[in-house]
Protein backbone atom coordinates (compact mmCIF):
# COMPACT_ATOMS: atom_id res chain seq x y z
CA UNK A 1 0.00 0.00 0.00
CA UNK A 2 1.40 3.31 -1.03
CA UNK A 3 -0.15 6.68 -0.55
CA UNK A 4 1.24 9.67 -2.38
CA UNK A 5 0.26 13.28 -1.94
CA UNK A 6 -1.54 14.34 -5.12
CA UNK A 7 -1.52 18.03 -6.02
CA UNK A 8 -3.28 19.90 -8.79
CA UNK A 9 -1.37 22.89 -10.14
CA UNK A 10 -3.64 24.96 -12.32
CA UNK A 11 -3.60 28.27 -14.08
CA UNK A 12 -7.12 29.65 -14.34
CA UNK A 13 -7.64 32.75 -16.45
CA UNK A 14 -5.95 34.24 -19.43
CA UNK A 15 -2.41 35.23 -18.54
CA UNK A 16 0.22 33.23 -20.35
CA UNK A 17 2.92 33.21 -17.69
CA UNK A 18 3.39 29.68 -16.44
CA UNK A 19 6.98 29.78 -15.29
CA UNK A 20 6.03 30.05 -11.63
CA UNK A 21 3.54 27.22 -11.91
CA UNK A 22 6.16 25.01 -13.54
CA UNK A 23 8.79 25.84 -10.90
CA UNK A 24 6.35 24.89 -8.16
CA UNK A 25 5.22 21.75 -10.00
CA UNK A 26 8.80 20.61 -10.32
CA UNK A 27 9.65 21.37 -6.70
CA UNK A 28 6.66 19.36 -5.52
CA UNK A 29 7.63 16.49 -7.82
CA UNK A 30 11.12 16.57 -6.34
CA UNK A 31 9.56 16.45 -2.89
CA UNK A 32 7.94 13.11 -3.82
CA UNK A 33 4.47 14.36 -4.68
CA UNK A 34 2.37 13.46 -7.71
CA UNK A 35 1.61 16.72 -9.47
CA UNK A 36 -1.15 17.02 -12.03
CA UNK A 37 -0.38 20.02 -14.19
CA UNK A 38 -3.29 21.34 -16.22
CA UNK A 39 -1.53 24.00 -18.24
CA UNK A 40 -2.62 27.48 -19.25
CA UNK A 41 -5.99 29.13 -19.67
CA UNK A 42 -8.20 26.85 -17.69
CA UNK A 43 -11.75 27.83 -16.87
CA UNK A 44 -12.74 27.64 -13.19
CA UNK A 45 -15.05 24.73 -14.06
CA UNK A 46 -12.23 22.84 -15.77
CA UNK A 47 -9.95 23.35 -12.76
CA UNK A 48 -12.58 22.06 -10.35
CA UNK A 49 -13.44 19.12 -12.60
CA UNK A 50 -9.78 18.11 -12.90
CA UNK A 51 -9.42 18.31 -9.12
CA UNK A 52 -12.45 16.07 -8.73
CA UNK A 53 -11.42 13.45 -11.28
CA UNK A 54 -7.86 13.29 -10.01
CA UNK A 55 -8.97 13.15 -6.35
CA UNK A 56 -6.22 15.54 -5.32
CA UNK A 57 -5.29 16.34 -1.74
CA UNK A 58 -4.59 20.00 -2.39
CA UNK A 59 -5.00 22.56 -5.19
CA UNK A 60 -2.54 25.30 -6.15
CA UNK A 61 -3.77 28.16 -8.35
CA UNK A 62 -1.24 30.32 -10.13
CA UNK A 63 -2.62 33.70 -11.14
CA UNK A 64 -0.53 36.57 -12.44
CA UNK A 65 -3.15 38.49 -14.34
CA UNK A 66 -4.54 40.44 -11.43
CA UNK A 67 -7.88 38.73 -11.89
CA UNK A 68 -7.56 36.67 -8.71
CA UNK A 69 -10.46 38.39 -6.94
CA UNK A 70 -12.71 37.32 -9.81
CA UNK A 71 -11.25 33.90 -10.54
CA UNK A 72 -10.69 32.46 -7.07
CA UNK A 73 -14.33 32.71 -5.91
CA UNK A 74 -15.47 31.10 -9.14
CA UNK A 75 -13.08 28.17 -8.70
CA UNK A 76 -14.26 27.77 -5.10
CA UNK A 77 -17.88 27.88 -6.23
CA UNK A 78 -17.29 25.23 -8.90
CA UNK A 79 -15.57 23.08 -6.27
CA UNK A 80 -18.54 23.47 -3.94
CA UNK A 81 -20.95 22.42 -6.69
CA UNK A 82 -18.91 19.24 -7.14
CA UNK A 83 -18.79 18.41 -3.46
CA UNK A 84 -15.07 18.99 -3.06
CA UNK A 85 -15.16 22.27 -1.13
CA UNK A 86 -13.05 20.70 1.62
CA UNK A 87 -9.97 20.29 -0.61
CA UNK A 88 -7.50 22.97 0.54
CA UNK A 89 -6.63 25.66 -2.01
CA UNK A 90 -3.53 27.83 -2.08
CA UNK A 91 -2.81 30.69 -4.44
CA UNK A 92 0.49 31.81 -5.92
CA UNK A 93 1.38 34.76 -8.10
CA UNK A 94 1.17 38.51 -7.98
CA UNK A 95 -1.32 39.18 -5.21
CA UNK A 96 -1.45 42.64 -3.55
CA UNK A 97 -1.14 42.29 0.24
CA UNK A 98 -4.48 44.02 0.74
CA UNK A 99 -6.27 41.22 -1.10
CA UNK A 100 -4.82 38.42 1.00
CA UNK A 101 -7.19 38.70 3.98
CA UNK A 102 -10.16 38.72 1.64
CA UNK A 103 -8.93 35.65 -0.26
CA UNK A 104 -8.44 33.86 3.04
CA UNK A 105 -11.93 34.85 4.11
CA UNK A 106 -13.24 33.19 0.96
CA UNK A 107 -11.56 29.95 1.97
CA UNK A 108 -8.07 30.12 0.48
CA UNK A 109 -5.69 28.50 2.95
CA UNK A 110 -2.50 30.32 1.98
CA UNK A 111 -1.14 32.87 -0.49
CA UNK A 112 2.42 32.75 -1.77
CA UNK A 113 3.97 35.77 -3.46
CA UNK A 114 6.97 36.06 -5.78
CA UNK A 115 10.25 34.90 -4.28
CA UNK A 116 8.66 32.33 -1.98
CA UNK A 117 11.11 29.54 -1.22
CA UNK A 118 9.78 26.36 -2.80
CA UNK A 119 10.56 24.46 0.40
CA UNK A 120 8.05 26.74 2.15
CA UNK A 121 5.37 25.49 -0.22
CA UNK A 122 6.43 21.86 0.26
CA UNK A 123 6.28 22.25 4.05
CA UNK A 124 2.93 23.99 3.80
CA UNK A 125 1.44 21.12 1.79
CA UNK A 126 2.74 18.52 4.21
CA UNK A 127 1.13 20.51 7.00
CA UNK A 128 -2.32 20.95 5.43
CA UNK A 129 -2.49 17.38 4.15
CA UNK A 130 -1.22 16.07 7.46
CA UNK A 131 1.34 13.72 5.95
Amino acid sequence: MEKKIRVLIAKPGLDGHDRGAKVIARALRDAGMEVIYTGLRQTPAAVAEAALQEDVDVIGLSILSGAHMALVPRVLEEMKQRGIAEVPVFVGGIIPPDDIPELKAMGVVEVFGPGTNTQTVVDFIHKVVGA
Binding site: M1, E2, K3, K4, R6, A25, R26, L28, R29, D30, A31, G32, M33, E34, V35, I36, Y37, T38, G39, Q42, T43, A45, A46, E49, A50, L52, Q53, E54, D55, R82, G83, I84
Partner: protein
Protein backbone atom coordinates in the same frame (compact mmCIF):
# COMPACT_ATOMS: atom_id res chain seq x y z
CA UNK B 1 -16.46 1.25 1.07
CA UNK B 2 -20.03 0.13 0.28
CA UNK B 3 -21.74 3.54 0.15
CA UNK B 4 -18.92 4.91 -2.00
CA UNK B 5 -19.16 2.00 -4.38
CA UNK B 6 -22.91 2.43 -4.65
CA UNK B 7 -22.56 6.14 -5.19
CA UNK B 8 -19.96 5.54 -7.89
CA UNK B 9 -22.30 3.08 -9.58
CA UNK B 10 -25.02 5.69 -9.52
CA UNK B 11 -22.84 8.11 -11.44
CA UNK B 12 -21.34 10.08 -8.54
CA UNK B 13 -18.03 11.20 -10.03
CA UNK B 14 -16.63 12.28 -6.70
CA UNK B 15 -17.23 8.80 -5.28
CA UNK B 16 -15.69 7.23 -8.37
CA UNK B 17 -12.58 9.42 -8.02
CA UNK B 18 -12.16 8.40 -4.39
CA UNK B 19 -12.68 4.75 -5.23
CA UNK B 20 -9.96 4.98 -7.89
CA UNK B 21 -7.54 6.39 -5.30
CA UNK B 22 -8.25 3.55 -2.89
CA UNK B 23 -7.71 1.03 -5.65
CA UNK B 24 -4.52 2.72 -6.80
CA UNK B 25 -3.14 2.91 -3.27
CA UNK B 26 -4.10 -0.71 -2.57
CA UNK B 27 -6.07 0.14 0.58
CA UNK B 28 -8.40 -2.47 2.12
CA UNK B 29 -11.38 -0.49 0.77
CA UNK B 30 -9.84 -0.59 -2.69
CA UNK B 31 -9.24 -4.32 -2.54
CA UNK B 32 -12.79 -4.94 -1.31
CA UNK B 33 -14.13 -2.89 -4.23
CA UNK B 34 -12.05 -4.88 -6.72
CA UNK B 35 -13.36 -8.15 -5.31
CA UNK B 36 -16.89 -6.97 -5.80
CA UNK B 37 -16.36 -5.39 -9.20
CA UNK B 38 -14.23 -7.96 -11.00
CA UNK B 39 -17.09 -10.35 -11.90
CA UNK B 40 -18.86 -7.52 -13.70
CA UNK B 41 -15.95 -6.79 -16.04
CA UNK B 42 -15.05 -8.06 -19.48
CA UNK B 43 -17.37 -5.85 -21.51
CA UNK B 44 -15.23 -2.79 -22.16
CA UNK B 45 -13.03 -2.39 -25.19
CA UNK B 46 -9.67 -1.40 -23.73
CA UNK B 47 -7.52 0.49 -26.19
CA UNK B 48 -3.85 0.99 -25.39
CA UNK B 49 -1.98 3.95 -26.83
CA UNK B 50 1.78 3.64 -26.67
CA UNK B 51 4.82 5.18 -28.34
CA UNK B 52 7.85 7.33 -27.73
CA UNK B 53 7.75 10.53 -25.66
CA UNK B 54 6.69 13.44 -27.81
CA UNK B 55 5.11 11.33 -30.54
CA UNK B 56 1.80 12.97 -29.72
CA UNK B 57 0.05 10.26 -27.71
CA UNK B 58 -1.85 12.54 -25.36
CA UNK B 59 -3.07 14.87 -28.08
CA UNK B 60 -4.16 11.87 -30.12
CA UNK B 61 -5.95 10.35 -27.12
CA UNK B 62 -7.83 13.60 -26.60
CA UNK B 63 -8.98 13.70 -30.21
CA UNK B 64 -9.84 10.01 -30.23
CA UNK B 65 -11.87 10.37 -27.07
CA UNK B 66 -13.86 13.24 -28.45
CA UNK B 67 -14.63 11.35 -31.64
CA UNK B 68 -15.58 8.19 -29.72
CA UNK B 69 -17.91 10.19 -27.54
CA UNK B 70 -20.18 10.72 -30.55
CA UNK B 71 -20.83 6.97 -30.34
CA UNK B 72 -20.75 6.15 -26.63
CA UNK B 73 -22.25 7.86 -23.60
CA UNK B 74 -19.24 7.29 -21.37
CA UNK B 75 -15.55 7.05 -21.89
CA UNK B 76 -12.57 6.76 -19.54
CA UNK B 77 -8.98 7.75 -20.07
CA UNK B 78 -6.18 6.44 -17.89
CA UNK B 79 -2.96 8.31 -18.61
CA UNK B 80 0.29 7.08 -17.10
CA UNK B 81 3.40 9.22 -16.72
CA UNK B 82 6.69 8.19 -15.10
CA UNK B 83 7.50 8.55 -11.42
CA UNK B 84 10.88 9.93 -10.50
CA UNK B 85 13.25 7.13 -9.50
CA UNK B 86 14.85 9.56 -7.06
CA UNK B 87 12.04 11.34 -5.25
CA UNK B 88 9.12 9.05 -6.07
CA UNK B 89 7.25 12.13 -7.22
CA UNK B 90 5.81 12.69 -10.66
CA UNK B 91 4.66 15.39 -12.99
CA UNK B 92 1.48 14.22 -14.66
CA UNK B 93 0.99 16.39 -17.72
CA UNK B 94 -1.21 14.37 -20.04
CA UNK B 95 -4.44 16.22 -19.19
CA UNK B 96 -2.88 19.37 -20.43
CA UNK B 97 -3.01 18.00 -23.99
CA UNK B 98 -6.70 17.22 -23.81
CA UNK B 99 -8.33 20.59 -23.18
CA UNK B 100 -11.31 19.72 -25.39
CA UNK B 101 -12.43 17.16 -22.81
CA UNK B 102 -12.27 19.33 -19.71
CA UNK B 103 -15.96 20.18 -19.80
CA UNK B 104 -17.29 16.90 -21.13
CA UNK B 105 -19.45 15.21 -18.49
CA UNK B 106 -19.20 11.86 -20.34
CA UNK B 107 -15.41 11.64 -20.15
CA UNK B 108 -13.45 10.80 -17.03
CA UNK B 109 -9.69 11.34 -17.18
CA UNK B 110 -7.44 9.91 -14.53
CA UNK B 111 -3.69 10.49 -14.41
CA UNK B 112 -1.45 7.90 -12.82
CA UNK B 113 2.22 7.85 -11.95
CA UNK B 114 4.12 4.68 -12.83
CA UNK B 115 5.26 4.31 -9.18
CA UNK B 116 8.38 2.30 -9.86
CA UNK B 117 7.06 -0.05 -12.54
CA UNK B 118 9.17 -0.20 -15.69
CA UNK B 119 6.78 -1.76 -18.20
CA UNK B 120 5.07 1.46 -19.27
CA UNK B 121 2.16 1.24 -16.83
CA UNK B 122 1.83 1.30 -13.06
CA UNK B 123 0.98 -1.72 -10.95
CA UNK B 124 -2.56 -0.53 -10.46
CA UNK B 125 -3.38 0.48 -14.04
CA UNK B 126 -5.10 -2.82 -14.63
CA UNK B 127 -7.10 -2.36 -11.43
CA UNK B 128 -8.33 1.06 -12.55
CA UNK B 129 -9.42 -0.51 -15.84
CA UNK B 130 -11.39 -3.04 -13.76
CA UNK B 131 -13.27 -0.25 -11.98
CA UNK B 132 -14.19 1.64 -15.16
CA UNK B 133 -15.14 -1.59 -16.94
CA UNK B 134 -17.36 -2.77 -14.08
CA UNK B 135 -19.12 0.58 -13.93
CA UNK B 136 -20.18 0.16 -17.53
CA UNK B 137 -17.71 2.28 -19.44
CA UNK B 138 -17.70 0.77 -22.95
CA UNK B 139 -14.47 2.39 -24.14
CA UNK B 140 -11.36 2.77 -21.99
CA UNK B 141 -8.28 4.46 -23.43
CA UNK B 142 -5.02 3.66 -21.64
CA UNK B 143 -2.07 5.86 -22.47
CA UNK B 144 1.29 4.43 -21.45
CA UNK B 145 4.33 6.39 -20.35
CA UNK B 146 6.46 7.54 -23.26
CA UNK B 147 7.66 4.10 -24.17
CA UNK B 148 10.92 2.99 -25.70
CA UNK B 149 11.27 -0.51 -27.00
CA UNK B 150 10.36 -2.98 -24.32
CA UNK B 151 7.52 -1.37 -22.43
CA UNK B 152 5.00 -3.99 -23.41
CA UNK B 153 2.91 -4.34 -20.23
CA UNK B 154 0.08 -2.69 -22.12
CA UNK B 155 -0.42 -6.02 -23.93
CA UNK B 156 -1.58 -7.48 -20.62
CA UNK B 157 -4.24 -4.82 -20.22
CA UNK B 158 -5.50 -3.75 -23.65
CA UNK B 159 -7.41 -5.54 -26.39
CA UNK B 160 -6.24 -3.22 -29.14
CA UNK B 161 -2.84 -1.57 -29.11
CA UNK B 162 -2.16 1.56 -31.08
CA UNK B 163 1.52 2.38 -31.52
CA UNK B 164 2.11 6.06 -32.19
CA UNK B 165 5.25 6.97 -34.13
CA UNK B 166 6.51 10.37 -35.10
CA UNK B 167 8.39 10.93 -38.37
CA UNK B 168 12.15 10.60 -38.32
CA UNK B 169 12.44 8.30 -35.33
CA UNK B 170 14.88 5.76 -36.72
CA UNK B 171 15.35 3.39 -39.61
CA UNK B 172 14.03 -0.04 -40.46
CA UNK B 173 16.35 -1.75 -38.03
CA UNK B 174 14.67 0.05 -35.14
CA UNK B 175 11.33 -1.18 -36.35
CA UNK B 176 12.62 -4.73 -36.70
CA UNK B 177 13.67 -5.04 -33.09
CA UNK B 178 11.57 -7.13 -30.79
CA UNK B 179 9.22 -5.50 -28.34
CA UNK B 180 6.77 -2.73 -28.77
CA UNK B 181 6.60 -3.04 -32.57
CA UNK B 182 5.49 -6.64 -32.22
CA UNK B 183 2.54 -5.91 -29.99
CA UNK B 184 1.09 -3.16 -32.17
CA UNK B 185 -2.31 -3.87 -33.72
CA UNK B 186 -2.46 -0.50 -35.40
CA UNK B 187 0.46 1.78 -36.19
CA UNK B 188 -0.10 5.51 -36.44
CA UNK B 189 2.39 7.92 -37.92
CA UNK B 190 1.40 11.13 -36.20
CA UNK B 191 2.58 14.58 -37.28
CA UNK B 192 2.14 13.25 -40.80
CA UNK B 193 2.29 16.75 -42.24
CA UNK B 194 6.04 16.76 -41.71
CA UNK B 195 8.25 16.22 -44.73
CA UNK B 196 9.91 13.04 -43.37
CA UNK B 197 6.56 11.39 -42.72
CA UNK B 198 6.35 9.51 -46.02
CA UNK B 199 9.76 7.96 -45.46
CA UNK B 200 8.70 6.75 -42.03
CA UNK B 201 5.49 5.28 -43.43
CA UNK B 202 7.45 3.52 -46.14
CA UNK B 203 9.99 2.05 -43.71
CA UNK B 204 7.25 0.87 -41.38
CA UNK B 205 5.33 -0.67 -44.22
CA UNK B 206 8.37 -2.62 -45.40
CA UNK B 207 9.10 -3.90 -41.93
CA UNK B 208 5.56 -4.70 -40.86
CA UNK B 209 5.00 -6.66 -44.01
CA UNK B 210 8.09 -8.71 -43.14
CA UNK B 211 6.94 -9.23 -39.60
CA UNK B 212 3.53 -10.51 -40.57
CA UNK B 213 4.82 -12.84 -43.31
CA UNK B 214 7.44 -14.23 -40.91
CA UNK B 215 4.62 -15.05 -38.56
CA UNK B 216 2.92 -17.25 -41.13
CA UNK B 217 5.96 -19.51 -41.44
CA UNK B 218 5.50 -20.48 -37.84
CA UNK B 219 2.19 -22.22 -38.62
CA UNK B 220 1.40 -21.59 -34.98
CA UNK B 221 -1.10 -18.96 -35.87
CA UNK B 222 -2.79 -17.37 -32.90
CA UNK B 223 -1.10 -19.39 -30.24
CA UNK B 224 0.05 -17.91 -27.00
CA UNK B 225 3.66 -16.86 -27.15
CA UNK B 226 5.59 -15.99 -24.02
CA UNK B 227 2.65 -14.01 -22.72
CA UNK B 228 1.59 -12.13 -25.82
CA UNK B 229 -0.69 -13.10 -28.65
CA UNK B 230 0.57 -12.14 -32.05
CA UNK B 231 -1.86 -10.78 -34.58
CA UNK B 232 -1.32 -13.28 -37.39
CA UNK B 233 -3.94 -12.78 -40.02
CA UNK B 234 -4.67 -9.21 -39.06
CA UNK B 235 -2.64 -6.99 -41.30
CA UNK B 236 -1.42 -4.15 -39.13
CA UNK B 237 -2.62 -0.95 -40.77
CA UNK B 238 -0.32 2.05 -40.92
CA UNK B 239 -2.35 5.21 -40.60
CA UNK B 240 -1.35 8.83 -40.85
CA UNK B 241 -2.69 11.44 -38.48
CA UNK B 242 -2.11 15.04 -37.58
CA UNK B 243 -3.71 14.91 -34.16
CA UNK B 244 -3.32 18.58 -33.43
CA UNK B 245 -5.41 19.35 -36.53
CA UNK B 246 -7.83 16.48 -36.00
CA UNK B 247 -6.76 14.86 -39.29
CA UNK B 248 -7.03 11.10 -39.74
CA UNK B 249 -8.95 10.54 -36.52
CA UNK B 250 -12.06 9.00 -38.06
CA UNK B 251 -9.90 6.56 -40.04
CA UNK B 252 -8.21 5.56 -36.80
CA UNK B 253 -11.55 5.03 -35.07
CA UNK B 254 -12.63 2.87 -37.98
CA UNK B 255 -9.45 0.77 -37.73
CA UNK B 256 -9.98 0.31 -33.99
CA UNK B 257 -13.55 -0.83 -34.59
CA UNK B 258 -12.37 -3.20 -37.33
CA UNK B 259 -9.77 -4.64 -34.99
CA UNK B 260 -12.35 -5.33 -32.36
CA UNK B 261 -14.54 -7.08 -34.93
CA UNK B 262 -11.50 -9.11 -35.99
CA UNK B 263 -10.73 -10.08 -32.38
CA UNK B 264 -14.26 -11.32 -31.92
CA UNK B 265 -14.59 -13.21 -35.19
CA UNK B 266 -11.18 -14.86 -34.88
CA UNK B 267 -11.65 -15.98 -31.29
CA UNK B 268 -8.74 -13.80 -30.20
CA UNK B 269 -10.98 -11.70 -27.97
CA UNK B 270 -11.50 -14.76 -25.81
CA UNK B 271 -7.77 -15.54 -25.89
CA UNK B 272 -6.91 -12.05 -24.78
CA UNK B 273 -9.39 -12.32 -21.92
CA UNK B 274 -7.65 -15.54 -20.91
CA UNK B 275 -4.26 -13.90 -21.06
CA UNK B 276 -5.53 -11.02 -18.95
CA UNK B 277 -7.12 -13.34 -16.42
CA UNK B 278 -3.88 -15.26 -16.11
CA UNK B 279 -1.94 -12.02 -15.63
CA UNK B 280 -4.48 -10.85 -13.05
CA UNK B 281 -4.08 -14.03 -11.07
CA UNK B 282 -0.29 -13.91 -11.20
CA UNK B 283 -0.30 -10.27 -10.15
CA UNK B 284 -2.31 -10.93 -7.02
CA UNK B 285 -0.45 -14.16 -6.25
CA UNK B 286 2.80 -12.23 -6.30
CA UNK B 287 1.41 -9.42 -4.15
CA UNK B 288 -0.16 -11.72 -1.59
CA UNK B 289 2.69 -14.24 -1.53
CA UNK B 290 5.25 -11.60 -0.72
CA UNK B 291 2.97 -10.03 1.86
CA UNK B 292 2.21 -13.44 3.41
CA UNK B 293 5.88 -14.34 3.49
CA UNK B 294 6.76 -11.10 5.20
CA UNK B 295 4.03 -11.39 7.77
CA UNK B 296 4.86 -15.01 8.52
CA UNK B 297 8.61 -14.63 8.81
CA UNK B 298 8.82 -10.97 9.78
CA UNK B 299 10.38 -8.13 7.85
CA UNK B 300 13.57 -8.57 9.91
CA UNK B 301 14.02 -12.09 8.61
CA UNK B 302 13.92 -10.83 5.03
CA UNK B 303 16.30 -8.06 5.98
CA UNK B 304 18.72 -10.66 7.37
CA UNK B 305 18.87 -12.37 4.00
CA UNK B 306 19.36 -9.03 2.29
CA UNK B 307 22.34 -8.39 4.56
CA UNK B 308 23.79 -11.78 3.70
CA UNK B 309 23.39 -11.02 0.00
CA UNK B 310 25.13 -7.68 0.45
CA UNK B 311 28.00 -9.47 2.21
CA UNK B 312 27.95 -12.04 -0.62
CA UNK B 313 27.70 -14.88 1.90
CA UNK B 314 24.49 -16.04 0.21
CA UNK B 315 22.94 -15.94 -3.23
CA UNK B 316 19.44 -14.70 -3.98
CA UNK B 317 18.27 -17.99 -5.52
CA UNK B 318 19.04 -20.08 -2.47
CA UNK B 319 17.88 -17.34 -0.13
CA UNK B 320 14.48 -17.20 -1.83
CA UNK B 321 14.17 -20.99 -1.64
CA UNK B 322 15.17 -21.02 2.02
CA UNK B 323 12.60 -18.37 2.89
CA UNK B 324 9.85 -20.20 1.05
CA UNK B 325 10.72 -23.38 2.95
CA UNK B 326 10.75 -21.60 6.27
CA UNK B 327 7.33 -20.19 5.49
CA UNK B 328 6.10 -23.67 4.63
CA UNK B 329 5.39 -22.78 0.99
CA UNK B 330 8.03 -25.13 -0.39
CA UNK B 331 8.23 -28.60 1.16
CA UNK B 332 11.11 -29.10 3.55
CA UNK B 333 11.64 -32.63 2.22
CA UNK B 334 12.77 -31.49 -1.18
CA UNK B 335 15.39 -29.32 0.44
CA UNK B 336 18.77 -30.62 -0.47
CA UNK B 337 21.90 -28.58 -0.23
CA UNK B 338 22.77 -29.43 -3.78
CA UNK B 339 19.51 -28.67 -5.50
CA UNK B 340 20.47 -26.07 -7.99
CA UNK B 341 17.19 -25.70 -9.75
CA UNK B 342 14.03 -24.25 -8.34
CA UNK B 343 12.04 -27.35 -7.42
CA UNK B 344 8.63 -26.10 -8.59
CA UNK B 345 9.79 -24.80 -11.94
CA UNK B 346 9.47 -26.65 -15.20
Amino acid sequence: MKPWLEAAQNGDRRALARLLSWVEDGTPEGQAALQELYPRTGQAHVIGITGAPGAGKSTLVGRLARAFRAQVAQLAIIAVDPSSPFSGGALLGDRLRMPELSNDPGTFIRSMASRGQSGGLSRATRDLVTVFDALGCPIILVETVGAGQSEVDIARVAHTIVLVEAPGMGDEIQALKAGVMEIADIVVVNKADRPEAQQTVKALRAVLHEVSSAGHHGAQAQTEGPGYVTTESWEVPILETVAIENTGISELIEAIRAHRAYLESSGLWQKRLERQARADLETWLQRYLLAALESRLGAERLQEEVARLVARTANPLSAAQALLREAGILPLASATAHSSSFPESE
